[in-house]
Structure formats: structure tokens, C-alpha cells
Symmetry: C2
Subunit: 413 residues, 2 copies
């Protein structure tokens, strides 16, 4: 089946979506339920209605766009991604899977394709952890990994819960209905930029994801003793900053020495108190993001980091607390989807590279309730979460073509 | 001469002064030219007028309280300190030298003493670097170490210069007149809490300061590369936080290994960008406060820290800049003042401990224009710059007594 992708229209839609941002271009900042997030959603929903698709939103704002198949009672085939963006990020992370998914459906329609199973495009709420500290909020609740009790414990920086925030944003349905049962979908496949430079370096247009690494998130709090920067002698100090610095360095070492290139650990937040030129820092709060494709190795890293916190804080006579915010298992992709991706790519004469996703995605949680896969496309220098994040229009086009073909294949099964 | 110190009144005045604070008690926060600073100054000036003393303020708000001597043309003997307080500090740092200086003068008057040289009590503007990043703003300008051009380069967090800020606070005289000539004062002696635990541990009531350590302040900026915390592999990272952490640890090592207990170095501010859980920090801004009683050793530490910044940032392939904000030389105290302190203490049967001041004080800059000394009193556990900073009323009384006697001796010379 030939699929005619309207590359110019898709590029224009991606550019338009990027204008809904708190940060000035080329940076994109789009935080859950802000004015910019709601405007971007409205723009997306308008495009879907223009394409003649049906819309449904759940209580968290997860948005389901349905192209009804000839056998509408069969579980649908789903695709999708997210449109939220961390502070000072770029315009391709997530959005390529959302607007690209829409373009794939439009191209299938244009080609005269008639799906047996319905095809659904999902815009997931808050894949990024910016507002509530936990990634994949929408798919986490959808898959039952986070229930309403767990949701109620999350708070944003103003102390609001997700329930309060979503109601303010106008989502008033029953939260308990967000959860989908296992088997609700026949399959889920997500198109995404690689966020690594492998495809670009090897000049291969399609990444066929075989596994998705999962993060554990730790919150570390240190409490030492402050005091005057001139008067407290070095051996008598309980400097929380230097203690935190030693822990941050050890975290780097832990990730560097597992023996696997797949192990990563990042201190993304490091706040100190009282933060004055001539005052010894008495407190540190830091977050650690730990990931691996192998659950055992990931959890060994988490344990090694905790040990380092206890050892270093004890040596330096500081109080320490460690809280594990989340520790999700990695996911394996379904063989039927990697095979469909392989066949679809071959159909268009495109080479594929089997690879693991080191970033997590909504697919990680969709894998809990249905066979799941991911399709990656190259991005410049592997850069993501930065204003200079970039994927070429022709690379996006190839990804959308393969996605369309995969959706078509799965929808006939 | 017997000196009758009104300990109860002085304690009440210190407690009242502590109420002019942005932070709730027992913490004291009093930043230059804020409402709280101006109210505290008004309270102090009221007490001085009640005591029958003459007031003068300069263009920066340095306040001079004069008890005119029998030979008013002779250079006066001066004492004084500061009343500003860093965020979440305590109620004795500086204030004991200001209100204690006033009480010493009141006690001398009560005793019927008639000074030959005039005695002046100085409230120095902004000894703490909180607002403009540079400590001892008032005495620095008074002593000519900072001129009006240098002042104009300083900015607070809102971009205001000291000139703009002081005019808003109602100080409108000519800035050029703040500078005092060498010989303007016959001598300067500052009463202060020790900010170290030596006097308390040795149970000695009076510290006789022989030298004052001086700080160098460095601003370090690091720029690496950000990116997705899951996707950028460890060996490819240019993580500014881990680079800054390694530098912070090295700074601690530099101070610990000079061979002298007098060497201290502190990272007081450590800001990261973009500060998101799943984003690799691309930038760090940090301040370093480096002090020693020996200028050569202090400057060697500064050089070693700069070397560490260049080496570590080069190894990690980050860009680094280092700016030296100030690098003042330490000061030696004048023998005539240490001798007067010794004699005054003996007069009251109080033991003295010769010691160096590891914290800097306005005395560091007054030493540029006249013979200078300091008198220290014990403080609990050596704690300062914290809400639990504490000196016993009887220890304060002893210090005020010795100060009064020293002022009397110097005023007759």
C-alpha cells in the first residue's frame, strides 16, 4: 500500500504546536494543565475533528481519537504519545508521535484503507514529571500502576493534588474510570524521536525498539550544621553541600561502573539552604533519576546509591533521608509489533536497527495492559530536552509511513 | 575606675533590636536598607539621643555617635560594629558591638569619666555581603578600599546599585564624602562575639585579637551540555552539576590540606540549570569564600582552587569562568590596643586569650586608616550566623566593661 505523507502540513502543524509555550522560541515549555497546555490540546483536537475522527477525553485529560473500524467490537489498535514539555525543552519529543500518528491515520484514509479493528490515537496526559514529580501520569493511571489513592498523595509546588489541578483545568469525570482493563487494546505502538545519536550515526532511518528502560526516582535530603563561613574550622564542619557533592560524584561512579552502557543516573535537582556567600550550607535536597534496561542492574544501582548516602552522611556526621518516589520495571516490546515494524520498513525499502529505549515513554506503562512496541526516528546529535532538539522532516515522514503501515497491519489481525 | 554596666537594660535592648527582622524569632534576617534595617537604625539612634550623644550619618548610612572630649580637635577614639544580619542568622553578631559600645559610653558617663579625646560609636552599613555580594560595604568605602567607581559596579538581585538603593532609603549626601582620611581616628576597637568555641572551651572571658583573617570571594560559572536524563549515555555527558560537585569537594580538600587550621573555604551558593528531575544540568553557578590569617596561604588556596576549576572542567570538557570578586589582605591588630585590652582585663580580674579572628569584621578595613584592635567574648558552641547564636548576659557585661576601660585609656592618650 502506498502511503502519501503530507510532509509540509505535518511540519507546519509541529511548528504551530511549538508556539504554545511559556518559554520563547526555539525553547518549548509546556507544563500540565497550564494555559499553554490547554491551548495546545485545543489545537490538536481541532485538527482531529477536521480529519473526521471521534474524540473522547478521560478524567485526567488523556485524549482518545478514534477511527472506527469495520468490526468496532474488536479491541482497537492504538498509537500516541504526549505533548507536554519540560522547562526549556524542544519541539519534537512526544509531539512527533501525536501529530505523526494523526498524519498516519490521514494518510491511511487518503489511501482508501479500511481498518477491521478501530484505530485510536492517544494524547497522554503529562508524560513529563515536571508538575507532580512522577513521569507518565496519564498512562500510569490508565494502566493501573498508580491508583486514585496514589494520585491523592502527589502534590505540585503549590500543594495542589492532580485531582484539584485537573478539575481546575475543566476535567470533571470520575477518576476511577481512567483505568483501562488488560486487553482493552489489541496493541499499542508509539512513534518517537530516538533521543540518542545511534540512528543518525549509522544512517539508519528506523529504530525498532525491543525494550524500554525504566527509571527509579529518589529524593535525598541531607541535614548538617550551618554557621559562619569564616569562623567554623574545616574539621568541625557538617557542610551539607560538600556531603551532597560527594554523593553526586558517587552516583556518577555507580552508573559508570556497572559494566553496562545502559546504566545511567542523574542528579537533576540540587537545592541548598540557606544559600548565602558566607554561610555554610546546612541542608541539601537532591533528586536522582536512575535507569537501566535491566531491572536487576537498575535496582543494584539504586541500592548502591542508597548505601553511598548512608556511608557518606555517616562519615560526615550528617542526617540523611532517602525516599523512593517510583521504581518501575523495564518493559519488553511485543514480537508481533517488532515484526510488523520490520515488514513495514522493508515495504518502503527502509533499513531498521533493533535498539533499546533508554528514555522511558508512555509505552512503558501501556506494555502492562497490551502488546506494545515503539518506532524510533533519528534526531540531530541525539539531543533532546533542549531547545536545539531537531528531527529532519524527511526522517519524520519515513517514521510516519512505517507507523501507518504497522497500524494497518495490526488493524487487520 | 569602677564601671557599672546595666546588664538588664542592655539585654532588653538586644532583644528589642532582634524584633526588627524579616524572619520569625529566634531567627534574625535584616538586610541592608530594608524596612527592618531602617527601623532598627531608628531604634538605635533614639537610644543614642536619650543618652545625650550627637549623631551624624554619611551618604551610605554609616552612623557616627559622638561623645565630645575635652580636647575636641584631637582625633577621636572609635568603637562600633554592624546591625545587619544574613538570612536566618542570630541576634548577637555585630549588635553586641553596637549596643555594647553604647552601654560602655553610658557607663563611663555614669562613672563621671571625662574623656580628653572624643569617643565615637560607629554603626557600620552592611558588614554582611547579602545584598551587594561584598562584605563590609560601609567600612570598605570609609577606608578607601572601595571607591565610587567600584560601588557603581555592584548590583543587588534587582539590578540596583548601592547609590540607587541608599537614595531610596533616604540617604542623599555626597558619596565622595564617605571616605575618611588616614589619621581621622586615633584608634578603633571593636567588641564582637567570638564565633568560635575557644573562649568557651577554655573558660576565658576575654579574647584579645591579634590579627583578622580576610576573605577572597570567587564566582565560578560552569557550562556543559544538558539533555535527557535517560537518553544521554554516561561517557558522553558534560554534566555541570557533577563537575561542580567535584570542584566543591576539591575546594574542601584544598582548605583541609594547607597544614594550618586557620585555612577555610566555603561554597555558599550552588545554583543549577535547568533544575528538572529528568534533565542533565547544563549550567552551575557557585560562590567560594576563602579565608586565612596568612595572606600568602590564603592566596595559595585561591590559586589551587582556580587550578582545580581549570583542570576538572577541562577533563570533563566543560567551559568554566572564574571571577575574583574581592581578595582583601588580612590585618594585624595594633599593639597599643592589645596592651590596653590586657591592662583593662587585669583591672577587672579577667583572664585574656590572644587569638586571631577567622571571621572578618569592619575592623579589617578600619585597620587601613588607624591603629585597630578587637575584643572577643565567648558565644555558645562557637555558633554564629544561625538562629541559635547565643552569648550569656554576664559574658556580654564583661566585654562591655573591658571595652569601656579600653576606650577610657585610649581617650586619655
Amino acid at each position: 500500500m502506498n502511503l502519501d505523507i503530507n510532509q509540509a502540513r505535518l511540519s507546519a502543524e509541529l511548528a504551530k504546536l511549538a508556539t504554545f509555550s511559556e518559554a520563547p522560541a526555539p525553547a518549548v515549555t509546556r507544563i500540565l494543565y497550564t494555559k499553554q497546555d490547554l491551548e495546545a490540546r485545543a489545537y490538536f483536537k481541532g485538527l482531529c475533528l477536521e480529519a473526521g475522527l471521534e474524540l473522547r477525553e478521560d478524567a485526567l485529560g488523556n485524549t482518545f481519537v478514534r477511527w472506527t473500524g469495520s468490526d468496532p467490537d474488536l479491541p482497537a489498535v492504538a498509537t500516541g504519545s504526549h505533548i507536554d514539555a519540560i522547562p526549556h525543552a524542544g519541539m519534537y519529543d512526544g509531539t512527533v508521535g501525536v501529530l505523526g500518528g494523526l498524519e498516519a491515520i490521514r494518510a491511511l484514509k487518503l489511501a482508501g484503507f479500511k481498518p477491521k479493528r478501530s484505530i485510536e490515537l492517544i494524547l497522554f496526559t503529562a508524560e513529563e514529571p515536571t508538575r507532580f514529580g512522577v513521569g507518565c501520569l496519564g498512562s500510569r493511571v490508565m494502566s493501573g500502576v498508580l491508583d486514585t489513592n496514589g494520585l491523592a498523595k502527589l502534590k505540585d509546588s503549590e500543594g495542589k493534588t492532580p485531582d484539584e489541578a485537573r478539575q481546575e483545568a475543566g476535567f470533571s469525570d470520575n477518576l476511577a474510570d481512567v483505568r483501562l482493563t488488560e486487553g482493552f487494546y489489541y496493541a499499542f505502538v508509539e512513534l518517537h524521536i530516538e533521543q540518542m545519536p545511534q540512528l543518525e550515526q549509522k544512517n539508519i532511518p528506523i529504530g525498532m525498539v525491543t525494550a524500554i528502560a525504566a527509571p527509579a526516582t529518589l529524593h535525598i535530603a541531607l541535614e548538617g550544621a550551618g554557621g559562619h563561613a569564616g569562623a567554623v574550622l574545616m574539621p568541625e564542619r557538617k557542610d551539607a553541600l560538600v556531603c551532597g557533592a560527594e554523593i553526586a560524584q558517587t552516583i556518577e561512579s555507580v552508573a559508570l561502573t556497572t559494566g553496562s552502557i545502559d546504566s545511567v543516573a542523574t542528579v537533576g535537582i540540587f537545592d541548598i539552604h540557606p544559600r548565602a556567600v558566607n554561610s555554610i550550607p546546612s541542608k541539601v535536597f537532591m533528586t536522582v533519576d536512575v535507569r537501566d534496561t535491566d531491572l536487576g542492574r537498575r535496582d543494584s544501582m539504586v541500592e548502591a546509591i542508597k548505601d553511598a548516602v548512608w556511608t557518606i552522611s555517616a562519615e560526615r556526621k550528617l542526617k540523611a533521608t532517602v525516599e523512593t518516589l517510583n521504581a518501575d520495571p523495564p518493559a519488553s516490546c511485543a514480537r508481533e509489533i517488532t515484526e510488523a515494524t520490520e515488514l513495514a520498513s522493508r515495504e518502503f525499502g527502509l533499513r531498521t536497527l533493533p535498539m533499546v529505549s533508554r528514555a522511558y515513554h508512555d509505552a512503558l506503562f501501556m506494555a502492562r495492559i497490551c502488546p506494545t512496541g515503539m518506532i524510533f526516528i533519528p534526531c540531530k546529535d541525539g539531543v533532546s530536552h533542549r531547545p536545539d532538539e531537531y528531527s529532519k522532516p524527511e526522517d519524520i515522514e519515513r517514521g510516519v509511513k512505517v507507523l501507518g503501515s504497522v497500524l494497518a497491519r495490526l488493524s487487520q489481525a
